[in-house]
Amino acid sequence: MVDEGFKRQINSLAKVIDELDYYQILKIDQMAFEEDIKKAYFEESRIYHPDKYYTEPLEFQEKITGVFKRVCEAYKVLSDPDKRALYSKLINGPERQKYLRFDLRLLKAETEKKEDEGSSPLAKKYYKMAKTAIQNKDFKAAKINLQLAIKMEPNNQTFQEKFKEVNDILASRKGL
């Protein structure tokens, strides 16, 4: 049987869970490394996984499943670098409360808003090549292609942002 203290703990956690962000749910720092996120997910699973309480009363099982679902949700979002970056931005902004639970539509809207693939065929081509290079983690090639794309269309925001991103990655690599 589950002891009364743990039951009380689950009850109060279930009450406040809507107020917590994913970092708080996984009990990690916002600056946590990727591998710490997985570690936290495993640790929290060892506490809240409903299979451990399969023989408990249904009411308790439902409550702990509710908590565990949030643990899974937190892990799903924070273990994906793109989702994590967007999520962190949103929860540290003025509308924190609204964005505590991640919605796939946000990511879609964000990428659609951001992406301006250029208007001239040549700029488009260079940008596409840059993106492929980024996927292959060849940031040097990405940088050259982005420079060429920017030459074609100096006012394109997407090109500028990607260029800055790639530069940052290259700089951080040099630092290592």
Binding site: K38, Y41, F42, S45, R46, H49, P50, D51, K52, Y54, T55, T65, F68, K69, C72, E73, Y75, K76, L104, R105
Partner: protein
Amino acid sequence: MGRAVGIDLGTSTCCVSIVKDGKPMAIPGPDQRLIQASVVSFLQDGNRVVGNAAKKMMIANAENTVYSAKRLIGRKYFSAEVKKAQAVCSYKIVEGENQSVRIRIRDRDYSVAEISAMMLMEMKKIAEAYLGEEVDKAVVTVPANFNDGQRQATKDAGMVAGLNVLRIINEPTAAALAYGFGKGLKQKIAIYDFGGGTFDISVLEVGDDVFEVISTAGDTYLGGDDFDDRLIDYFAERFMREHELDIRSSRVALQKLKNAAEQAKVELSEKLETRIHLPGIMEAMAGPIDLDYTINRNYFGQMIMDLIQRTFKVCDEALQNARLTVGDIDALILVGGPTKSPMVQEAVKNYFFKDAQANVDPELVVSIGAAIQAATLTERKAGALLLDVTPMSLGIGTAGGLMDTLIERNTPIPTESSRIFTTTHENQTAVRIKIFQGENKFYEQNELLGEFRLAEIPAAPKGEPKIEVTFEIDANGIVNVTAKDKDTGKAQSVQLTVSGGLSKEEIQRLKKEHTGKGEEVAAFKPDLELIE
């Protein structure tokens, strides 16, 4: 209270296991064999034979013997897969209510879940005979890539068989559990699960007692059965060229050829060449004609190479989704009968640059994993914790034909996602929403799970009612839908029509018929009202 077992309900074979004194083991059937053929043969006198004994009747009783029924479970009658099965099966496949598939035997129509229930009952019987006590609970496995309908149908089959289905778990996950349980591993493992009818690849990270599925991908219509079909086609074509007679036009002859092809396939795993000899398989004007051919391993290998290559495309997908390469995999585990074939082993080794784990029996490992999970759930002891994922994205159809994805594939389960719905005209009292599973951005290209209807919406100006609908995927991978009024918090009625499934009443009736007890059936999607 009875015992809990683990059951691998396979396309071509079934296996039941238990954990005895802390050790998992497969249980032998009446013929002392650990695996039983997934075959049900209906006899003239109304009795039926199940398992290895039924397989022997596939020729004598071809039209009344059902095999590979799992290929049909949870599918809709008009699907391509059902059409494909119809072309090669010796039993009759007909359309049932609600686009479901039925199997017609001696003028009676059986649902596919019912055939699966007969297999489950046989497994239950085998376990009971061995244990000398009642078995009333089971963890049942399904291919990782099974959708909601197929999982639901499998769960229904368990209920009809009089089993409390503790959990539906994924076959590759079960295999991982059997391989890694109690070993304190810290590894990334790949499970290459090539079954009789389905192919799955799952990539897991094992951290001591935690088994996390990082990604899974599969093809629910690719398996060892396809190897047989290739051989059947090859021999039939050759026979046709020589004698201008089509073996496939006679159910009995086809069944004979099918058995011989399957045997040839198995023999080619051991030998470099095999002979297939069927005396008097067809009747011609001049008298009976024999089929007598030899085939060698190389030629057979060429015949099936494209099928094996197809599995690697699926592996690519799974690794990519896990953001891993083959080099990251610490251990490779082969599951399923077809992986016993040297051609498959060789190709898999070349793909993964790695030998598979040798101490794993590909035909028993799934049911053993299921038994470990059953013990974890029923015994209050520290067991293994499975962190599984949903194999397909879940979404709803929107105006304009696009699918609005609510839960992406490879999301850890259990999980849920909510959306707020409203009305589009004055005093509207009902809203219809279609749910789909699949990866295509157009919902029409994905699998329709069902349609639900939010009814009894209080009359109000358009756009005013706010109904929050929650889509849940539970630990079984089964979808549940609930709804509540966002303003009042009151539960909103949801009526769900599941495509191709059995109704609550039907399950009750069948359970009574097959087990003699129909009274206390566990609730079927409890918060939903089914429209018949």
